[in-house]
Symmetry: C2
Subunit: 397 residues, 2 copies
């Protein structure tokens, strides 16, 4: 058997104990006996469990009266649970292989048996009803298999518990920030007329994984994004092998992930001299973002930070309809956002030191767009930038 | 506005017409008026829609009486739908931005309004109940918002329609095969004692995206996977910066994606001379896989192909409990499998020319594992290999 010590754990066990304790307390306060977490970020945050197995049904169970969580998943991934977590052997439970993609049965049928066998069949169970991989079919099997349980949406309970980062988490966020600085600078250096987009992206991936010094990078929750010319009017197109043009806009949204902690970053480049219109938009974005980060202090609400940004942007003659930021941290594909606090009108979440956000200040007009974003951590002195790339429209001559 | 011609489409519109026609026929036969597809592979296969926006609720609707599908999603991604598809403008519908991650409302509330407004409120609607991003919460809002509809699981109807590839799809599968051959050979050349795992993976990513000649690669649905030493006993661990050891096993599962068509490939390497036990397992896997591919002809069933493999493996003293293959094609994270036909006991799907599979012949024992896999297309002459990397335990001295 693999000696657990040979796998480099991201955290000491005390950190996981802290998290499980916090989540049990929140679960009890919300009236739940048992939480069922399928979001790979929740699973990893609570136990250290890692591996690209989230395409198959799996879960971590947290019962308010039990010291350790229970991992449930595919047999071939149970070994990953042994290697990457400190869970006791009896809390690592595999489902039967024929249940994979079975037209009638589902792995959660056996999860229900496990829950029953532990005496939790009548529990108040909080599920992650909107987690990306918690499918409607999985939920249907859970509900059918536990007729005496009270099953309710836990409303991102674990995501909210993840919102304020501990010091050891912030260390990874800062390391990710170092890596994304290298990644973006690599991309900028590679942007020249005639270079295929795909070659820029190949170098981006290489820099993401090589990391910084001794610190390797993980895969990021979104792929590197590049938009060129009028393609900058929409943010999620991916690369082709079309050559970078002689003139015009390029927007890149790139990230780095350090032990799955993410720092996304967007920069806008211009090949050749920018038009006055483009320069004006970029300037408005930078100035307004600076003002917002200055306001991102403990005690301010999310909507107050957005209002500072929006007022400044409006003064420059622009507006941004979509939210201007969202919380970030440990995550897995398909999204690095935590699906909790957003910097937007109506979000009354009060900022606390240690919360991390991606201030995503993209403004997409009809024919083009620009963005100069920043990952930051809330501190008493305002939003502390986690990366260090020039905050301006980057002109490539 | 961006000229649609400047975005390199993967297929002519006739190919999409063929697919939509096939799906409408299958939907009608299954008793559905309307299909609601949220799986990004279904959305892309039906319309050409592309972009990393599948972390947010979106869908393609196919009504049996309508010529063109309807795209529904976030406003900032509607421009991607304009750029990447031929859908008429009135069939591209955006939801209101405040619905993103709203605690009470959901984008599907507006999808229900759209369905009602089109006169489909009492339709028989087939949903992808088990698609990765079709969350239990999305389904709940759909059901609540369409009280007169009959909403049922369409049981991967579009996935099954994707199973047999057209000639133009097979062209991309073969190109992906060319790229993955380069990718795996890059990884093998890089594997040397002392090299950090992360540096091998950085080069793998670079080769995946650079592609082959003029043919760039897309991101793959799973990240590159590397297991070292006793870590080879579980398949989905990802890299660290630990150095490649002086001796022992390394298993790598890598893929290439060409216009999102995937060819995954696994190889087992051994640093230094392998033990007799390891060599014996690898030999059994190769010989048994060859026999199975020989049997993968039109008319054979999936379980018959598996039985050929399993009988051969058993003769060598091994067994593999999990399925030995699954269908592959166009896909998006988190999985390159199509969630339809599996090479395993009980799967009576009859092979047809043009179906593609990943013959994933990994055998994981208690302390180590090995795999020598092959992506292949079913032809009259048996399974035609899509890649061309040495089929053997690769010894690195």
């Amino acid at each position: 058997m693999l000696d657990a010590m040979t796998y480099p754990r991201a955290f000491e066990s005390a950190e996981y104990d802290r998290r499980v304790g916090l989540v049990k307390e929140r679960a009890a306060n919300a009236g739940f006996d048992l939480l069922l977490c399928q979001d790979p970020a929740s699973m990893g945050w609570l136990t250290g469990f890692d591996g690209w197995s989230f395409y198959t049904p799996q879960a971590v169970l947290v019962h308010v009266d039990e010291p350790a969580p229970v991992w449930f998943g595919r047999a071939q991934d149970a070994r990953s649970a042994e290697i990457t977590t400190d869970l006791p052997a009896e809390n690592i439970v595999a489902f039967s292989e024929p249940l994979v993609h079975h037209p009638e049965m589902h792995p959660f049928d056996e999860l229900c048996e496990l829950i029953d066998a532990r005496g939790w069949g009548s529990a108040a169970i909080g599920v992650e009803l909107d987690a990306h991989y918690y499918t409607a079919r999985a939920h249907r099997h859970l509900v059918a298999g536990l007729p005496h349980a009270r099953i309710e949406d836990n409303r991102e309970l674990v995501n909210w518990a993840r919102l304020v980062k501990s010091d050891v988490e912030l260390a990874y966020m800062r390391e990710a920030g170092e890596i994304v600085t290298l990644v973006m600078n690599t991309a900028i250096a590679r942007l020249e007329p005639g270079v295929p987009q795909s070659e820029v992206i190949a170098d981006v991936y290489h820099a993401q994984i090589t990391g910084s010094g001794e610190k390797f990078g993980d895969y990021t929750s979104l792929c590197p994004l590049i938009q060129v010319g009028e393609g900058t009017s929409t943010p999620h197109l991916t690369w082709t092998s079309e050559p970078i043009p002689d003139s015009g806009l390029v927007v890149m949204e790139l990230a780095a992930a350090r032990r799955h902690y993410h720092t996304p970053l967007t920069r806008t480049m211009h090949l050749g001299a920018p038009s006055a219109e483009v320069a004006r938009l970029a300037e408005a974005i930078v100035v307004s973002g600076d003002a917002a980060l200055e306001a991102a202090r403990p005690g301010a609400t999310c909507e107050e930070v957005e209002a500072v940004w929006q007022r400044s942007l409006n003064r420059h003659g622009y507006e941004k309809a979509s939210r201007v930021g969202y919380s970030i941290g440990l995550n897995y594909p398909p999204d690095w956002g935590e699906r909790t606090a957003s910097l937007r009108p109506g979000d009354l979440t009060e900022l606390e030191a240690g919360m991390c956000f991606h201030f995503q200040s993209g403004v997409w007009l009809d024919d083009f767009g620009a963005a100069v974003s920043e990952p930051f951590v809330v501190t008493e002195a305002g939003g502390e930038r986690l990366s260090d790339v020039a905050r301006e429209l980057i002109v490539i001559d």
